[in-house]
Amino acid sequence: MKIVVAYKWASNPQDATVGAQGTVDWSRAKPGFSEYDPVAAELARRLADATGGEVIGLTVGTKRVDATLARKAALSRGFDRAVIVADDSLEGAGSTQLAAVLAAAVRHIGDVDLVITGDSSVDVGSKMVPTVLAGQLGWPAVAEVISITGQAGALRVERAVPTGTQVLEITGPVVLAASTDAAVARVPGMKDILAAGKKPVESLDLAALDIPAAAGTTTVTGTSRPDLLTRKGQMIDASDPAAAAAELVAALRGAGAL
């Protein structure tokens, strides 16, 4: 089985700052293997080990996704090899464009049975890439996946739905987005990182990929902060604990919280 894990080398919002006008300053944010992607890598590795398959890490982005540090960080997650599309013209690319490039790279890799992604990226979090990617490829897409078993062409996928879980049988190639807690990902050890330095990496030229032209363009013209919740700021005098507890319960009831 040939499994592709589409991962993102994304800026960590922990060090980003939001200005008063709602603009986000990412300049201090450090890039890393996007928060939920280790889960996808873990699911892929387990499935490949169970079926004797191959796991290929795939990412697209600016030149920084192809830095030595980024390559090793990705390859230490259990991939057998990596395919990278690094081009600075992808700076600021939206979910639709990134998914189109990913799809072209998946076609380039060829004979892919399955693409697994994380739940969403840590920096943008649109949750769109898996479905747009599937749409580009003409494949089905399944989100909130919690387990994957079976063989190529006969996958058994379990996914979380609001009413519980659902089991799906999938016959053709498919894009699966893992739920955030589908698996506990292994933390790469020293041997994993050493091995990562020796794994093959294929860099694809963006211009040489077959990417259908988009019918239109999307431009961000404004950003604003979410509306802040107005708080009641109600204070309860706690000098008499019993009375304070009663007052708290009454206040919570009154607000419909209990």
């Binding site: 933390v187 050890g189 020293m190 330095g197």
Partner: protein
């Protein structure tokens, strides 16, 4: 010396700060195989902002350091200040000779460390971030315990030499018994924040131009009488400001670091520099202040200790140094380790070249020169009475309140009589100061 298993690398360096990165870089340029292990997800990730780097040593390693590396400003103005609650007395030392050749620069470690790591990778170092070393591997050798590698999680890596560059609280050197837990008077806590301001504002407030910068060293009311001092220096578009507090004194006086920093930031002498700025970073870090006394054993069979981990920091009261000593120790360690690898003797005896090279360098010599500085800087009077005394003398001179003027000597004697400082203190501290600094 025979070793049980074939090593994975010639050298394992633990910690990708300045000392570790320089050691690794120098060894890689010698053609050794080196792995540089870093606990943070990327080098610099764990590091608190930065500081003033006396950069000559760095330029010996990287001749194009000033043009290539991410340096903030070149320090051409040094301001030494005695701060009292309502007065401040300063020496403003500005010298164009300090910019040609450049002697000191401000750096932000979040930028500098990744640059150093990149240089290491270019030189062939295998960089391994995101790995926390749990312990060193040791074996019993003919001359006692010998370090043969490191363990992290389930994985082990072996090398001829392990370099502990794991910072001021070096767990590695404590684990192998090279160091004991430091006495509190050897340690200080640095609390600082980085305040963003437009570059033009910084240049106007600190009266510097272009990429020039200023460094302020402050004693007295900034620490509310606690042993230590305040500092403030300019980065390109931010100001780093904070205090360093001796742990023993802080504990004895039962004060909180945040209260002291807040008081300092709001001090009428400091606040105008920071006005309108936005605090973008805040944190604290242990600082080694023991000087030469803290530099104990720095090598054993199969292991050397460099930088802060070796206690290589120097506070002379006027200059606080650590990063330049880290560079020097990295260069010296690489030299000693190289010689040991060549002679196939990486025992403590084989590694003796490190200590020799260190003490032949400016770092070792300066540690010896300033050996008495830490004890001198523990003098209580430095942090309170002297500043107030000078302040009162100057007040007597400048406060023309229509009372008849008196000769300076008389004014001074009056202020002196009011001060708890006695002649014997003045003589004692003066002599100690001259000898220590």
């Amino acid at each position: 010396m025979t070793e049980a298993a074939e090593p994975d690398f010639d050298v394992i360096v633990i910690g990708a700060g300045i000392a570790g990165a320089i050691t690794a870089y120098q060894l890689a340029t010698q053609g050794r195989s080196v792995v540089l292990i870093e606990r943070g997800e990327a080098p610099g990730a764990k590091n608190l902002s930065g500081g003033v780097l006396y950069c000559r040593g760095m330029q010996e390693v990287f001749p194009d350091f000033l043009t290539e590396a991410p340096v903030e400003r070149r320090i051409t103005r040094n301001y030494i200040n005695f701060l009292n609650a309502d007065s401040s007395i300063g020496i403003d030392y500005k010298d164009t000779r300090l910019s040609d050749p450049v002697n000191a620069v401000t750096v932000l470690r979040a930028k500098l460390d990744p640059w150093l790591a990149e240089k290491c990778e270019e030189a062939g170092v295998f960089l391994m971030p995101g790995v926390r070393v749990d312990k060193v591997l040791t074996e019993d050798g003919p001359t006692g315990k010998r370090v043969v590698g490191v363990k992290a999680g389930d994985d082990e890596l072996r090398a001829h030499v392990v370099v502990a560059a794991d910072g001021v609280n070096s767990f590695i050197s404590q684990e192998v018994g090279l160091r004991t837990k430091e006495p509190l008077n050897h340690l200080a806590i640095g609390v600082k924040c980085v305040v963003n301001l437009p570059r033009e504002t910084i240049e106007a407030r600190f009266s510097v131009t272009g990429d020039e910068g200023a460094a302020f060293a402050i004693v007295g009311d900034c620490t509310q009488g606690i042993g230590g001092g305040g500092f403030m220096y300019t980065n390109t578009e931010s100001i780093s400001v904070g205090v360093v507090l001796r742990l023993d004194d802080l504990t004895a006086k039962n004060k909180s670091t945040t209260d002291i920093l807040d008081y300092f930031l709001a001090h009428p002498f400091i606040a105008p520099y920071l006005e309108g700025g936005e605090v973008v970073e805040y944190g604290c870090h242990l600082v080694a202040e023991g000087g030469l006394a803290m530099l104990g054993e720095i090598s054993m069979d199969g292991l050397v200790v460099v930088g802060d981990a070796a206690g290589l920091t120097l506070n002379t009261g006027l200059t606080v140094r650590g990063m330049d000593l880290a560079v020097a120790s990295g260069v010296a360690a690489a030299k000693g380790i190289g010689a040991a690898l060549d002679s196939k003797d990486t025992s403590k005896v084989g590694l003796a070249g490190y200590r020799e090279a260190l003490f032949a360098s400016y770092a070792g010599k300066d540690m010896e020169t300033y050996a008495k500085a830490p004890a001198f800087l523990e003098t209580e009077r430095m942090y309170k009475e002297y500043g107030e005394l000078i302040g009162n003398v100057l007040y007597g001179v400048f406060n023309l309140d229509n009372s008849p003027r008196e000769h300076l000597l008389k004014v001074a004697m009056k202020a002196f009589k009011k001060s708890p400082v006695k002649i014997k203190h003045l003589i004692k501290d003066g002599l100690a100061g001259v000898r220590a600094l």
